[in-house]
């Protein structure tokens, strides 16, 4: 028993200090029959604890950050400087009455929040958090991420439809239209990385971005022309996939109140909230893995004395801060602007970026490679913005009402 | 029952459920769902023979399934576009009300109810 405890502490120390194969010494002490289950549990439990805790922290930080941007203090009553606000919110949502509308489809209304949260947790299982920390090293990790992530759209539809509320249904339809549209640039922007790295396994993609022996700077994909363009496309598409401002039309509290989770209260509402933030974290984690070098430090000499997972979480915090900043700065886009951006600008640019990545694959990191890919991307960015989405079409506003038919 | 026989009988049953759905459901969209089930049954067959056959190295069965899924996706897209176009014209998605080829413009009482 004592030995088991000692080995358990040793395992945690091994994880914290970035050593390979942390479970190797602990698992032999577990009875033979339980070994697989215990091993799986040891991989899964940290995800189940760390990311909800991060969610709690992010809600407070986001409200304080938005408060700063809008010149108000933000939450400042509970705990030191308001940082325990998440506990008050948690207790409130857990003790609230769970209201289900009488006309609602009870089964689907109950399943919807679970169908949102479970796939989002599953997507974390393929992300490499540190040097030896990847719960599930799948050969097709990226495909797994997108396959599992695609089922959140169904959960949103389920919630909107089962509530039997017109605002919920409107929100759900907006949500699906938006997520289906932005999934295409999202996947295409990640494909450029797959093409250059030559693998879909996320740990292998992180390895491809490690600094060589002679480099000072790491070889993050974002430091290449196609990687930079791909990262920006990825960020915008991920923002839309996570339904965050300026793409929060599915919620649109001033238009359709709260969209698909209008009829949810108490714990189920908390689950939706959790699922949304976890989806954001997962998208950020994927962006870090694909473009920002995963758990690698920006400079080679830093890797020796800072644990790898700290780099991952520092980058995650940075990206989340960017999303909070964007949310506090940009106004919500209109539905037609949303669709135009996805189909007329991001989709062609993602395809051109794929072509640029192919050129880079053949030219390599030579001056010619830099010049040609940068030129291609800048010219196509400028011309796509000017030709397909001309800015100067501002005329008198024309209203078209439902039922009038096509104009 | 071996694994192969299990998968093949599951696929046969799935195919027949899909066929029955196509034949008897009155809604066009569900007829399409039935067709999807039939395609999926065929996919299951391909994969079962690939997995439990003697030449697992060749991956022929898997390739068939990949292409079959792509064809199924195209088929669903076009099929549902047809359903929407039909709905716009006839204001119905029920197969028994789409009978303009029969030449009867009047619906019978049974179908109107």
């Amino acid at each position: 028993m004592m030995e088991g405890l000692r080995e358990f502490c040793g395992m945690i120390w091994k994880v914290l200090s970035d050593q390979p194969d942390p479970k190797a010494a602990f698992l032999p002490l577990v009875p033979e029959a339980w070994r697989v289950e215990v091993s799986a549990l040891l991989s899964v439990l940290p995800i189940l604890m760390v990311f909800p805790a991060l969610f709690a922290l992010t809600t407070v930080l986001e409200r304080k950050g938005l408060g700063r941007i809008q010149n108000r203090p933000g939450p400042n009553r509970v705990g030191p400087a308001g940082f325990l606000q998440f506990a008050a919110d948690g207790i409130k949502t857990l003790t609230k009455e769970d209201v289900v509308p009488r006309a609602a489809d009870r089964v689907l209304h109950f399943i919807a929040p679970l169908a949102l949260v479970v796939p989002v947790f599953l997507t974390f299982s393929v992300l490499p958090f540190g040097r030896n920390l990847v719960p599930l090293n799948l050969d097709a990790g990226l495909l797994f991420f997108f396959a599992v992530g695609a089922s959140t759209e169904l959960a949103i539809f389920m919630a909107g439809w089962a509530s039997r509320n017109k605002y919920s249904l409107l929100g759900a339809l907006r949500g699906i239209a938006q997520m289906v549209s932005y999934e295409i640039p999202l996947i295409l922007s990640t494909l450029s990385v797959v093409m250059v790295a030559g693998t879909m396994s996320l740990p292998a993609i992180v390895d491809a971005q490690a600094a060589g022996s002679g480099d000072l700077l790491s070889r993050w994909h974002v430091f290449t022309p196609w990687g930079f363009a791909g990262f920006l496309l990825f960020l915008v598409a991920a923002c839309a996939e996570a339904n965050r401002a300026p793409f929060d039309l599915p919620e649109g509290e001033s238009e359709i109140i709260a969209g698909y989770y209008l009829e949810y209260s108490g714990f189920k509402f908390a689950l939706f909230f959790l699922g949304e933030y976890l989806g954001l974290f997962a998208a950020c984690g994927l962006g870090i893995t694909l473009f920002l070098g995963g758990w690698h430090a920006p400079f080679r000499f830093m890797e020796a004395w800072v644990p790898s997972y700290l780099w991952f979480f520092a980058k995650l915090a940075g990206l989340v801060a960017v999303f909070i900043w964007v949310r506090g700065t940009l106004p919500r886009v209109r539905m037609d602007q949303l669709m135009n951006l996805a189909w007329k600008f991001m989709l062609p640019l993602a395809l051109i970026n794929l072509f640029a990545a192919a050129l880079w694959h053949f030219l390599g990191s030579t001056p010619a490679g830099w010049a040609i890919t940068t030129g291609l991307l800048v010219v196509s960015y400028w011309s796509l913005g000017r030709i397909l989405m001309p800015p100067g079409r501002i005329g008198r506003r024309v209203y078209r009402y439902a039922g009038e038919g096509p104009a | 029952m071996t694994e192969l026989q299990f998968h093949l009988s599951l696929s046969a049953l799935l195919f027949c459920v899909g066929l029955a759905g196509v034949l008897i459901r009155r809604n066009v969209i569900l007829a399409l769902v039935g067709i999807e089930f039939m395609l999926n049954a065929a996919n299951l067959n391909f994969l079962a023979y690939w997995r439990y056959g003697s030449r697992t190295v060749s991956m022929d069965g898997m390739m068939f399934v990949v292409f079959s899924i792509a064809v199924a996706a195209a088929e669903v897209a076009v099929g549902l576009a047809l359903v929407i176009a039909l709905y716009r014209r006839l204001r119905t998605a029920r197969l028994d009300e789409m009978q303009s080829l029969k030449g009867c413009t009047e619906r019978t009482d049974d179908e109107r109810s």
Binding site: - | H7, I29, V33
Partner: protein
């Protein structure tokens, strides 16, 4: 026959039967998605990782959503009050049942062609990619063309005709 396979098989068949017999069309769509997920589980259990994940991505992420959208666009969201099955339903069920009998009897009468020595194959994604991009590249290109044509065709078919005046929906 492992317990997991049996469970997934039951999920697939109940999902399929429910999808084709429920009264509420949206429930039908969700039941069919359950059946597709069960099939993806079977594929993954057989060692076809790529195909299983593609099945989830295409059927749950795209086809299921399309079905749901089509149901809502044809105003089938409520409970169907009129008869679900055509008047000749006995005939249809008979044909399908007869086919099932023929298939199953043929399956169990003939010799079992499975190879007991076959081990669980686990092709890497690289092998699948090589196969798709090198040996089957012509088929892949034709498939890409087909998908492009299908998506453009779907848009053209579903586009409202601009000249014709729409009748009032009744």
């Amino acid at each position: 026959m492992s317990a997991l396979n049996l469970l997934l098989g039951i999920v697939v068949l109940t999902g399929a039967v429910a999808a084709l017999s429920l009264r509420n069309l949206v429930h039908c769509a969700f039941a069919s998605i359950g059946a597709f997920l069960g099939l993806a589980g079977l594929y993954l259990h057989m060692g076809a990782e790529f195909v299983g994940l593609v099945q989830i991505l295409v059927y749950v992420g795209a086809v299921g959503i399309l079905f749901v959208f089509a149901i809502l666009l044809t105003r089938g969201g409520g409970v169907e009050e009129r008869p679900l099955f055509s008047t000749s339903w006995l005939c249809g069920v008979g044909v399908a049942g007869a086919l099932a009998l023929v298939l199953l009897s043929g399956l169990f009468k003939g010799a079992d062609p499975s190879d007991p020595a076959a081990s669980r194959p686990s092709p890497t994604l690289k092998q699948v990619g090589q196969r798709l991009m090198v040996e089957d590249v012509l088929a892949l290109e034709i498939m890409a063309l087909l998908l492009t044509v299908a998506s453009i065709g779907a848009i053209v078919i579903a586009m409202p005709e601009p000249s014709r005046k729409e009748e009032d929906p009744t």
